[in-house]
């Protein structure tokens, strides 16, 4: 059972994590805007997360915490 936590307000919506996720469970939330004015990332199905930390590795802004 893995858990992702996002520091959503620091996300710049670059989507590098989205491309890196092997499960395809990350998306850029185009219906939301964070404090910086970006569409932030969100997880669509946490149950499927395997905690591989690929998203953490790719994130240039270090906004993702992965626990597994």
């Amino acid at each position: 059972m893995a858990k992702l936590t996002f520091k959503t307000d620091n996300c710049k919506g670059c989507a590098l994590c989205v491309d890196a996720c092997p499960k395809g469970i990350l998306r850029i939330a185009t219906d939301k805007i964070n404090k910086k004015g970006h569409h932030p990332v969100e997880c669509t199905d946490m149950d499927q997360c395997i905690g591989c930390a690929s998203c953490y590795m790719m994130c240039p802004d270090c906004i993702i915490k992965v626990e597994r």
Binding site: N10, G13, A20, M57, M58, P60, C62
Partner: protein, 252 residues
Amino acid sequence: MAVYEKPHALIDVPLHYCPGCTHGIVHRLVAEVIDELGIEGKTIGIAPVGCSVMAYNYFNCDMIEAAHGRAPAVATGVKRADPENHIVFTYQGDGDLASIGMAETVHAAARNENITVIFINNAIYGMTGGQMAPTSLVGQVTQTSPYGRDPKACGYPIKVCEMLSELVGPEYLERVTVNNVKNIRNAKKAIKKAFQNQIDGKGFSLVEVVSSCPTNWGMTPKQALDWIESDMLPYYPLGVYKDRSAEEKEAE
């Protein structure tokens, strides 16, 4: 339980870099290595002039902002001020390290100065808005090569690792990239080795990180990572260009 989160050596503030800029990835790798080696309290980082000029606001260790290109000379001073107790790294871009600061780079390498150099090669001047760098590819369109880099007018891009590898001095030279998870893992290994070498007193260790600049390349972050693969890496092949200790071990 395994936890991946912002390393202690990276201060918990938003980075000023553009969306998808790989500076942030390399900052994190450096900080992770500092954490894992337990050297934050004795590390002094030297920031360059360029996009990463404000790196001094991001690393938790003591930081110095150097003049453009002079980071290896400043690092030489800091290291020699207390060689036993100072771990010193520079963090420099291609304009800083391979253009205005080439003399400082070459001579720090030739002296085998016991410092760690993190060299970000993204083939462009980012901070000033996308001008041609010493590492810009032939044909690459930039603000100051609007018709593409013409080798007849401005020569060929400099391969820093290859060039420095001809020197007797330096201990370790490796080129890595951060365009996917696997390459990021390898980049971290190289950065860790570059710091470990300093701890072991082995000398000048430089890791060239082929990086992206989505904004000034005029690409999305993803396209920029793909362009590293398709255009940058054929000219800048990844690999170890010098590892004196390993070579000596092999010779034994």
